[in-house]
């Protein structure tokens, strides 16, 4: 069986302007949403707070739960349905993080029992203090930054044999970030600055494959985070895991195209122009690109629909990431390498 015909020849490179416009629009919308919402909708993992998941044996009006919570001073608590309706599960969220060891879930349970008449089962309690939240936020940003950096070293090394150059560049960036992070500079500002410098350096040093890859990855991350922001979904620790996996997956895709480009450049009789070589490479790998996306999406949808509420957002982030990542390998990473080759 074949989905993609072997003699397929779509003019991807010729359509790179459409891709460029689409990506710009998506990035603008994402950035806009992030600016309006003042950053991602951080879950308690990153800003601190308390989350309690409760389950009733029968239907209970949400209003009564709220009354109960208000009675013990949880005025800012949000209560929402969780999972299937027949499960009668609710998620209570509050920005308060009770710091004492005094029984928080006990008092919540008692208060709800008083107001609803039914004792809830406390299924999950997550409490994160504000300092821990701040620490995790910094660590998450650093993790994304480091994985991008290590990956670019690998790409520059493997594709352009510039191990030393990229290694030294990355090394000095890491040192600068490390030292500045001691001086309490806001981690977000720091990482953004470091990324801009990285991109500038790659342009200056002509590490074109690494630059193509890293632009595509930033594109994927920004759009995924942007969609989360637009839909007002909770940005929690598992989402960071999803983002890093997306980085890995999207790059996987990009590298396969790059690999083919490299192979075709080596094998060409210099008559063929770069744009047509690049286009040929994309087409030759298109079948694989689509197939792998399909199988990955199959399992992700299984996870999304059957994996339960807790893993829901993670699966959703991955689905977006796989779609955007597949698109960006063809429409972002490759055109940039081509542009760098011309320039």
């Amino acid at each position: 069986m074949q989905i993609i015909k072997s003699d397929i020849n779509i003019d991807f490179i010729g359509k790179h302007k459409i891709g460029f416009i689409l990506s710009t629009i998506l990035i603008l919308i994402s950035t806009g949403s992030l600016l309006i919402h003042k950053g991602p909708n951080y879950g308690i993992d990153f800003v601190g707070g308390t989350l309690i998941q409760i389950k009733f044996t029968q239907e209970v009006p949400v209003g009564k739960i709220r009354t109960g919570l208000a009675a013990i001073g949880f005025n800012d608590a949000s209560v929402q349905d969780f999972g299937h309706e027949q499960d009668h599960e609710f998620l209570i969220r509050t920005s308060m993080s009770q710091m004492s060891s005094h029984g928080l879930s006990q008092s919540v349970s008692d208060a709800i029992k008083t107001s609803t008449g039914i004792a809830p089962e406390i299924r999950r309690v997550e409490m994160v203090g504000p300092q821990v939240g701040k620490d995790l936020r910094g660590k998450a940003l650093l993790a994304i930054f480091y994985s991008l950096l290590f990956i670019t070293i690998y790409i520059s090394g493997r594709f352009e044999l510039k191990w030393m150059l990229s290694g030294v560049t990355a090394g000095s960036l890491m040192t600068v970030v490390y030292f500045l992070s001691v001086f309490n500079v806001s981690m977000a500002v720091l990482i953004t600055a470091a990324l801009v410098i990285t991109l500038g350096l790659f342009w200056f040093l002509r590490l074109k494959y690494a630059m193509g890859a890293i632009v595509a990855l930033l594109h994927d991350i920004l759009i995924t985070v942007g969609i989360f922001s637009i839909l007002d979904l909770d940005f929690s620790l598992p989402i960071i895991a999803a983002l890093l996996t997306i980085i890995g997956y999207s790059l996987n895709d990009t590298i396969i195209v790059f690999d083919r480009i490299r192979e075709n450049i080596k094998g060409s009789q210099s008559k063929e122009s770069f744009p047509s070589l690049f286009n040929k490479s994309i087409n030759e790998t298109l079948s694989r690109t689509i197939l792998t996306s399909v199988t990955t999406l199959i399992v992700l949808f299984a996870l999304y629909f059957l994996g339960g509420e807790i893993i829901h957002n993670f699966a959703f982030a991955m689905i977006i990431g796989v779609l955007v990542g597949t698109y960006s390998s063809i429409f972002v990473a490759t055109p940039i390498v081509l542009a760098a080759n011309k320039g």
Partner: protein, 523 residues
Amino acid sequence: MKPFSFKTLFITGIIVAAIVWLMPTYFDCWPHKKINLGLDLQGGMHLVLEVQNVKAVEAEVERTIQEIKKELREQEIKHLGISRLKDNSIIAKFKAGDNKSGFEKILSKNFENLIIKKPMTDNNIISYKLALSEQETETIKKMATQQALETIRNRIDEFGVSEPDIRIQGDNRILIQLPGVQDPERAKALIGKTAQLTFQIVDEDADVDAAINGTPPVGDEILYQNRYNQGSSTPVKIPFLIKKRVLLDGSLLTNARVEFDQFQQPQIGIEFNRKGARIFDRITGANIHKRLAIVLDKSVYSAPTIQDRIAGGKAVITGSFTLHEAKDLAIALRAGSLPAPVEIIEERTVGPTLGADSIRMGIMSMLIGGLLVILFMAVYYKGAGLIADVALIINIVLIGGGLAAFQATLTLPGIAGIILTIGMAVDANVIIFERIREELRTGKTALASVHAGFDRATLTILDANVTTLIAALVLFQFGTGPIKGFAVTLCLGIVASLFTALILSKNIFDFILKNKQSTTLSI
């Protein structure tokens, strides 16, 4: 072709090893190492405590002040007050005159560890500023964390949790993992209790109410007793005026256990060691007809009037305890007090039913997703698809075996990692198959196409997987608990899929092609 080549032996060896490692998870057999389930799957509590070790420094400074005062009393040197400042330095004031040399002598003789700033004279008052050295402060802080860890470990051991994991994290944090804990609230109360037991005299010369409205007399503090009236669950707070001087504390205890009074009310019987008993004997003898307050974590439990001197070093703490509370308090007293209060700065508790649900749903989506992928591959690549399916199944067995062998922890995101691997592991096979198809189109024979396909795809596959591996390793480094579990399964999945795609499927192809002598390939 030899029936058993070295390669075949190697492949079978690895698969058999994985199966052997996986067996104990399902049956009770050698090597007896099951796959560890994370707290999010088996239920349990994850806590991060922050030791307020500045308080330990404060306590040390207070102790030093008491010692200096005692020394001065013995040498009959008068002072105008010695007190602790906010930054944990000590300020000692004297009337200008002949006290100076006496005080300095005491300092140089008994308090060498204190750093003495140049004394300042103002209005005939000399004030000395003293401070602990930076190094000593650090040591006290470090010791406080260390000691808190030991104490908490003892308490948890007595409380009875199987396989707890307790360790220091960073400078002053303690990470506690309690799998399968039945009553998280109770465990938390026990762990977080400072359990600072002191015996202090009640000041009955001054009026409590006046002290509450104004300031308590010098050397006194106001502490409260929570008293429960019958039929009411909210306590009434009764104030006491207590002399600050601690006559005896819980560090000299040898035992604490739950006893019952004549009304079957639980109470806690405590016993002191010989030194403690001697002190108790002396203080009860010296304070007959006064009230001795038993203070636990800054709240008064009882304040009986001393009728007679008490020898033998035994005492009873009464209060309106439930049986659980009394038991836990006895455990805390036996295990010793925390050197400084602790704060819970992170808590993640998962109930056992939720954990079971997560496992069920995780396995469900793994099965459905896996079956769909297997079906898809078989339809799309026919015979070769079946080879990829075999590779996929072996892949999952290898991940499971790897988890058991490395004693890694399987978490809910970890299951997601395995599911993701199922989707991505076929990628390597897809790359190879597409290559083989390309080679076949150029008119090569089946065998030649397979070889060329594998040769040309190998490097691409390695390149593509190394980058995902980099991301997974960074994630492992950064992640905590569940996220680490995801990184682990992702790493294992990548390594396993490299093995199954590049070594296992290649051998299956070779085996089929060489034995059938066939020229056509089902791909």
